[in-house]
């Protein structure tokens, strides 16, 4: 979840409030922003869910608080000046066809404001930008750009296009040397972090002005246009794989800079007729501050919140959410047409407006009530069977265990003398985990006994007798199943003590079988985990469902055990 660092003093200034730190924290909690702790610079660390990405900066959080307090009401759109600049889009890499942009002038960037802008940029990359894969932001000092008119009498322009990874050279940020784009991805300390985003591209994304290459999205900007505290006019460009995402990210950044007193100026985005992507030949007027509308009924607000509201209260909550509305009577009852500002990326459906209304009203103001809904509860048959079997085992003196479903081939097979293609209990094609994070957990276990052996191995210093049992999941690959995996619950039980014998195990198995009215037979069998001549199939009502025997000395020694172990394992559904 995103964490944003916010200076409480700066927040108070932007909100225009005298509330102390505790009051601020309480109000932020109600908005869904949780205080995680203090930074080294005495700033709030605020954590929140990744929906309200417009709150990734102190300016955005201040805006939300101003609405919550009623200082601001209703939707607001920053004024924009008409476009002087154009972004030409031609011959872009097909993997990254889209771009958007805006200019913000007249900024007086304090150190705090610059930090906030950098933080916003990073957080947007991490969330909406999907680590820059979907959208990457570049902010430049406008005065360092030189744009020749694209056509006679036309505007100044820059060009989003592509470049040969080796032919071009420029000085990237945090470097003093000219490098080729490929060198940047290979050896620049920041450039190499995102190198995989251009991996496999024939030509790399590039942005040129009249002077030359100044940005290599999504990897790094050029040093020439670096933004400092002295920068007053900024050029913002964003490139990526989805125009809507870029335009929303751009709106969030523009709102944030406008809150710092910046004047937003529009930019034209001209896609060449043969540009890749779905917008070839189109010209866009950016930033996209279009307002969308959602329609909600008064009735739905009331049923979701579980309270009665007057029109005025509903409208008050809507306006204190930074939205605007007019109510009207329709045949469907009272209805609100709600206008949603362009920085709200989370509003996908009218239900999201109702959530806003609830937050503005204060969800914690709502009185809990137990729903007047009558249903009958009960256990699933399988889990009742499992419980009855477990109770029987516990009654027989077995310690109930709870082991992991995930294990590895060594534990599941090799240390038990079993091979995956052995046609015995425990054999079978195991389900394997893709790019396993830990060598300990690479497959799902095919049987339960190996887990019990591990517990015995880890408890040789504890008092004997040790009687262990577990009912848990086991699985093998099975093409007859829809998921291609056959999962079943298995019962595994082991007795470890100097007197442990086949008979000891069978005595307990007999009771288990009898408890479920199953006819038990144990015809001799061979199983590599057990001593030859002391192993048998477990047959219940004529069906082979498991194995019983005395563990082979080689398996015991492998598990560092100095006492004999007898054990049985059978399918839980064998008792059904």
């Amino acid at each position: 979840m995103p964490v944003v660092d916010v200076d409480p003093d700066e927040l108070r200034t932007l909100v225009d409030t005298n509330k102390d730190d505790d009051e601020l924290r309480e109000d932020l909690f109600a908005l869904g922003l949780e205080f995680e702790g203090w930074t080294e610079d005495d700033e709030f660390q605020l954590e929140f869910a990744p929906d309200r990405l417009d709150r990734l900066s102190v300016e955005g959080i201040a805006r939300s608080l101003r609405y919550q307090y009623g200082t601001d009401r209703g939707l607001a759109i920053p004024d924009t000046n008409s476009a002087e600049w154009t972004i030409n889009v031609e011959e872009t890499p097909p993997e990254r066809p889209y771009v958007t942009g805006a200019i913000v002038r007249g900024l007086d960037l304090s150190e705090d404001a610059l930090d906030s802008l950098i933080q916003l940029q990073e957080k947007l990359h991490a969330t909406m930008g999907r680590q820059r894969a979907k959208g990457a932001i570049g902010v430049h000092d406008l005065t360092m750009l030189k744009g020749a008119p694209a056509k006679d009498g036309a505007q100044k322009s820059i060009t989003y296009t592509s470049m040969d990874p080796d032919d071009e050279r420029f000085v990237p940020l945090e470097s003093n040397d000219e490098m080729s784009p490929r060198e940047v991805t290979e050896s620049h300390h920041m450039g190499s972090v995102y190198a995989e985003l251009v991996d496999g591209m024939d030509r790399y994304p590039a942005i040129y002005d009249d002077i030359g290459l100044f940005s290599f999205p999504p990897i790094i900007n050029g040093k020439r246009t670096e933004v400092t505290e002295n920068s007053r006019d900024l050029f913002i460009e964003m490139t990526g794989t989805d125009q809507w995402t870029l335009d929303r990210m751009c709106a969030i950044v523009c709102y944030s800079l406008a809150a710092r007193g910046g004047q937003v100026e529009r930019v034209n985005v001209e896609y060449a007729a043969d540009a890749p992507g779905e917008l070839a030949g189109e010209t866009l007027d950016r930033p996209d501050f279009a307002v969308k509308t959602k329609t909600i009924t008064h009735d739905r607000i009331e049923t979701i919140l579980g309270i009665s509201l007057s029109d005025a209260e509903a409208i008050d909550c809507i306006e204190r959410s930074g939205l605007s509305t007019q109510d009207e009577e329709t045949t469907a009852g009272e209805v609100y047409e709600v206008e949603v500002p362009p920085y709200r990326v989370d509003v996908l459906h009218p239900i999201d407006i109702i959530d806003d209304i609830g937050r503005a009203y204060g969800f914690n103001e709502l009185e809990p009530r137990y729903p007047d809904v009558s249903t009958v509860g009960g256990r699933h048959d399988r889990s009742r069977l499992e419980d009855a079997a477990r109770d029987t085992l516990v009654g027989l003196g077995f310690e109930d265990l709870l082991n992991f479903y995930m294990t590895n081939e060594a534990e599941n097979f090799e240390r038990m003398n079993v091979a995956p293609d052995d046609e015995v209990v425990g054999g079978g094609d195991p389900v394997t985990i893709l790019e396993a994070y830990s060598e300990e957990y690479t497959i799902l276990r095919t049987w339960g006994l190996p887990s019990l052996m591990q517990v015995l191995e880890n408890n040789t210093h504890r008092q004997y007798p040790q009687q262990l049992a577990e009912i848990g999941l086991a699985a093998v690959v099975d093409e007859n199943e829809n998921t291609n995996v056959a999962e079943h619950r298995t019962i595994a039980a082991a007795i470890a003590e100097p007197e442990a014998s086949y008979e000891e195990a069978r005595a307990r198995l007999q009771i288990l079988a009898r408890s479920f009215e199953k006819d038990l037979e144990t015809p001799p069998t061979e199983h590599p985990s057990f001593i030859s001549g002391r192993a048998a199939e477990v047959v219940l009502d004529g069906k082979s469902v498991g194995v019983i025997g005395e563990l082979h000395p080689s398996v015991l020694v492998e598990h560092d055990l100095e006492v004999p172990v007898s054990a049985f394992e059978l399918r839980l559904d064998g008792l059904q």
């Binding site: 256990r379 109930d400 957990y441």
Partner: protein, 510 residues
């Protein structure tokens, strides 16, 4: 007076004038010492005799002391060797004398230190001279002989005439003698005891064990049972018990069933379609591409997912549902949805139930739950395991409100002593409104996240064919257990690293 056998024997053996050790009494009465002791305590209860304790100091030789009885103390051996080397006439080289005395190692230091202390001679620049003394009169050597003679019976009293305290202390300091205290119980008849004896006591028949014969013959009516030491600990037994986490799961299930919830079942290995896509989780959501997911290498994909449902889910992701809905601005790929993984949450079961895949179409009202495992490739720490139990619950009904949601949780958590729940507005891709639940730890008073909840979004419910409201919540069983029991680390609870001692001694839950 009728008394049990043993008591009669003890009473008869005891004396009215003199305190007698219980061991003597036991020997005389032909009883085991513990039986005699038990009987004596019973008689003391009846005021027939008194029991007093006497402490004696037993003096014994250590192994080293024993070795000097025959071999003589090192300093004496040194003296004798010095004499035979002529050291009484003029000093001789120490090395020579030591060799003759057959002393080596630590015995050398012992010999030299005591040689000088006892005035057997002097040591100067490696030259040894012997004084004119009689080693046979050495009090320490004599004391050793006395102790050897008295053997195990030697006490401070018994040797007091022959060994003075100073010598005894010196020998103790030298580690040649050990002094241990031994307490003995002494019994003496009281006046009541003497009277009782004079009036006559006879033995009632007493038995140790109630046998089948005694019961069937009816002889049990004429016997007295010997008393046991009922306060003593019995030998340890190993009993079987349900795993503590399983006990917690049972408790949760009981509560939920009491609240009208029915249990769900379903696959652990499932298609991403059921785990995520049906929950309106965008395919480029970080949780779906993130390394914390356990995707499968083999097998890779599910065979069948219902085609019409796939179409509805795809449309919801791309365009939303209804007029004012827009969907996600990211692509949707059926192939990706078919990939298999270990479920990261048990909400996959909810999706299978709501769609009708599990039990057929469900008509409201319904309540369902599960307490089953979910799998996340998370960093292991005190509160996170790769496998954990998720409590999942949902309610389906017409017109459910946030207040119903709050009321259900308040009721649920109160069953575990967790009150004052706070609801923090939250975001989940599949619920709106959504809330994280916070509760106060009953012991530390700390505010702790105890669950995640919400009302399912229309974009999730409509494709699944549900046209009423469904509210749902989930939380980790381990976290509830930590809150309810004060446990601090779950790593030693779940899995093959479990300590049997923990399972055998952990307090039961109820």
């Amino acid at each position: 007076m009728q008394l049990p056998d043993a008591q009669v024997a003890v009473l008869k053996a005891a004396d009215g004038g003199e305190n007698r050790p219980i061991t003597d009494i036991a020997e005389e009465a032909d009883l085991k010492p513990e039986t005699a002791t038990q009987a004596a305590f019973a008689l003391e209860e009846e005021d027939l005799l008194t029991i007093s304790e006497q402490t004696t100091e037993l003096i014994g030789l250590t192994d080293e002391g024993e070795s000097y009885v025959k071999g003589q103390l090192p300093e004496i051996r040194l003296y004798r060797a010095a004499l035979s080397a002529g050291a009484d006439a003029e000093p001789v080289s120490m090395g020579e004398v030591l060799g003759q005395a057959d002393l080596g190692g630590s015995a050398v230091d012992i010999a030299l230190a005591n040689f000088a202390r006892k005035g057997y001679g002097e040591l100067d620049s490696g030259q040894l001279s012997a004084a004119d003394v009689n080693p046979d009169a050495d009090p320490e050597q004599q004391a050793l002989a006395v102790l050897a003679e008295q053997g195990e019976d030697a006490t401070r009293e018994s040797v007091s005439g022959e060994i003075d305290d100073e010598t005894l202390d010196r020998l103790t300091d030298r580690g040649l003698v050990s002094v241990t205290e031994s307490t003995e119980r002494l019994v003496k008849l009281t006046d009541d005891g003497i009277t009782a004896l004079m009036e006559g006591v006879e033995a009632a028949e007493t038995v140790d064990k109630l046998t089948p014969e005694l019961l069937t013959s009816g002889d049990w009516e004429d016997v007295e049972f010997t008393s046991y030491n009922v306060e003593a600990d019995a030998p340890e037994l190993q009993a079987g018990r349900k795993h503590p986490l399983r006990q917690m799961a049972d408790r949760v299930k009981d509560v939920l069933i009491g609240m009208g919830f029915e249990e769900m079942q379903g696959p652990t290995v499932d298609a991403d379609f059921w785990i995520n896509d049906c929950l309106f989780m965008p395919q480029d959501h970080p949780a779906r591409t993130h390394w914390d997911r356990f995707a499968l290498e083999s097998p890779e994909k599910i065979d069948e997912i219902p085609a019409d449902l796939v179409d509805r889910v795809r449309t919801a992701h791309l365009e939303g549902v209804g007029e004012d809905s827009e969907g996600y601005h990211s692509p949707w790929d059926e192939d990706f949805a078919r990939q298999l993984a270990l479920r990261g949450h048990t909400t996959s079961l909810t999706a299978r139930h709501l769609s009708g895949e599990a039990l057929g179409d469900l008509e409201p009202p319904q309540r369902f739950f599960s307490v089953e495992k979910a799998y996340r490739n998370d960093t292991l720490d005190a509160t996170h395991l790769l496998e954990f139990f998720q409590i999942e619950g949902w309610v389906m009904a017409e017109n459910l409100s946030v207040r119903d949601l709050f009321g259900t949780f308040t009721e649920f958590y109160e069953q575990f002593g967790i009150t004052d729940i706070q609801f923090k507005p939250h975001y989940n891709p599949y619920t709106e409104p959504s809330f994280e639940l916070f509760g106060r730890h009953p012991e530390t008073g700390e505010l702790i996240e105890i669950g995640n909840s919400g009302i399912f979004r229309p974009e999730m419910l409509e494709p699944l064919g549900v046209d009423c409201d469904v509210m749902a919540w989930g939380l980790a069983l381990e976290r509830l257990m930590m809150l309810a029991t004060g446990a601090e680390d779950i790593r030693d609870v779940h899995g093959t690293l479990v300590d049997l001692e923990y399972l055998r001694t952990e307090e039961v839950l109820y």
